[in-house]
């Protein structure tokens, strides 16, 4: 670890990076306050008209509700399946364990475009188009491999002796898992859950393909439709985008400590 005073070029580098990250957001924010339709320049007039219109004269509220429901359900399903799978992969030795894990990882590298058409056909056949279920199922399937890997590495860092002590103390396997292992896993679950939540919040291609009906749209899809109906409404898109950033940002803020703890767990003893 460097303990000397940071040199001035370090500040400069950090400022430059921060500017790169913040500038587009600032631009977006300025756009959202402009009631006119410019994108390259602002008219110098500022009002909250765009926000009022997005919040009260559109379906944005419904989109938010849809996204929240789908995101929470996806997080729940992904974490439940991944935790059980990770437990098996971490605690039991069985033939083909590593090939299965590698296979999972490879499967998760398939580009989404490659499976979109068959997915659409399947969803249509099952009459699941424009439902929460199809989004939750597909998102869960999509996120499961990565999450399983992540949680397995958390699980590996929990000493097996903890569980063994619980077995000797009077727990069965299941109880030892829920009473002893699961509480240790919370930071890992928070970190993985946030990653899944943000993925669902930002996902567009699957959402627009499988659930584009007006009252079933997710936020990202809803924003997209501002592009088409009556020309490009930059101000409203910007206002909608700013609003849609808020929930995940709040989540990060509240779960920050757990998240950092989770992402750095086991890195340093």
């Amino acid at each position: 670890m460097f303990r000397d005073k940071a040199p001035s070029w370090a500040y400069f580098a950090l400022l430059l990076t921060s500017f790169g990250a913040v500038a587009p957001l600032a631009w977006l924010f300025l756009l959202s306050l402009d009631p006119n339709q410019g994108v390259a320049s602002t008219s110098g007039i500022y009002s909250l008209k765009n926000y009022a219109s997005v919040l009260f004269q559109s379906m944005m509220g419904q989109y938010f509700l849809n996204t929240t429901i789908v995101a929470l359900m996806t997080v729940f399903c992904t974490l439940s399946c991944a935790t059980l799978g990770a437990y098996a992969a971490s605690r039991y030795r069985f033939r083909g364990r590593e090939p299965i894990m590698i296979g999972l990882l490879l499967a998760s590298m398939t580009p989404v475009i490659a499976v979109l058409v068959p997915l659409y056909a399947m969803a249509a056949k099952l009459q699941l188009l424009n439902t929460y279920s199809i989004l939750v199922i597909v998102f869960t399937a999509w996120q499961l491999p990565g999450t399983l890997w992540l949680i397995r590495s958390f699980m590996n860092s929990i000493p097996a002796e903890l569980e063994e002590a619980a077995l000797v103390d009077g727990c069965g396997r299941a109880r030892a898992f829920f009473r002893i292992v699961l509480p240790q896993l919370v930071p890992g679950l928070v970190a993985s859950g946030l990653i899944v939540f943000v993925y669902v919040w930002n996902e567009f291609i699957i959402a627009v393909s499988l659930s584009a009906k007006q009252d079933m749209r997710l936020v990202s899809v809803g924003l997209y439709f501002y592009l088409s109906d009556f020309g490009v409404e930059w101000g409203k898109i910007a206002a909608g985008a700013i609003i849609s950033i808020i929930p995940p940002a709040m989540l990060f803020l509240f779960l920050q400590r757990q998240l950092i703890h989770g992402l750095s767990a086991g890195a340093v003893k």
């Binding site: 063994e164 002590a165 000797v168 109880r175 240790q184």
Partner: protein
Amino acid sequence: MATVEIRAVKKAYSDTPVIHGVDVDIQDGEFVVLVGPSGCGKSTLLRMIAGLESISGGEIRIGERVINDVPPKDRDIAMVFQNYALYPHMTVAENMGFSLKLRKMAKPEIAARVKSAAEILSLAHLLDRYPRQLSGGQRQRVAMGRAIVRDPQVFLFDEPLSNLDAKLRVQMRTEIKELHQRLKTTTVYVTHDQIEAMTMADKIVVMHDGIVEQIGAPLDLYDRPANQFVAGFIGSPSMNFIKGQVRLEGTPRFEVGEHIALPLDQAGDATDGQEAIFGLRPEHVRLDPQGVPIEVLVTEPTGSEILVVARLGKQEINCLFRERLSFSPGEVIKISPRPEVSHLFDASSGRSLTG
């Protein structure tokens, strides 16, 4: 409290056998130490008693009951792990009371038991702390507290002191022994440290490569090792093994190269001219002007004693003197072994010829 009987117990991982049929009888209230170098199967055997490893062959009884297929939670045993395995999200009191809570004991009863165990272990002021707020020695005590609140049939210790520093280890050794004298619970204790084994055990089981080399009281193993492995493992600094030939005509003696012979008090099963190993503990030599000459290589004084590394003929030996002596490297001194406490081992099998 209960007896533990281990009968022809075997363990194999897929096709690799690690324990090849072990028999040990543990009496009610006895403190038994399983000792041996890493990989000898001692921890595996302990985990089989605990139910954390399956038993591939033979049987283990606790009291009258065969426990081969009994899950750990129903064996009525308590175990202290090497890394303590305290539950990080529970306070000291919760850690200690967890097993009682699982048994649906009434809360006041749990509190009373935890309190009395905490007092025995001087933990009473730490009951509300979390494991991460404790020192190594305190964690060690909590792990022991968790075991004793249950008043189990058998205590199992898996190298409980190896994570502590040297001073604390000696202190906890005494505490564990005191605790055993007070509770008189049957105890099986695993360590690779022969000093721990010698100082704590009623009975020592020396294991090596998945078999039992010898079972006996600590001083029995020290005085009458059954073979060269036990002789070398028990005692510190460890026994010198000197190669040579047994000569029985005239005065029985042990020839080490030319013109050097060590006196033999008893030759046991040895025959004249047999190639053998002469076992001599470093502390069983004395300075003697009529003795055999050795050349001093290195001296290691510790204050209470001095260890001399020297050359006898072409072989290196260690000698331990309790007197304040000073030798310089290269100096030739004369020593005599105490023949009544020396040993002879068969050169090929390592079996004791004098035991």
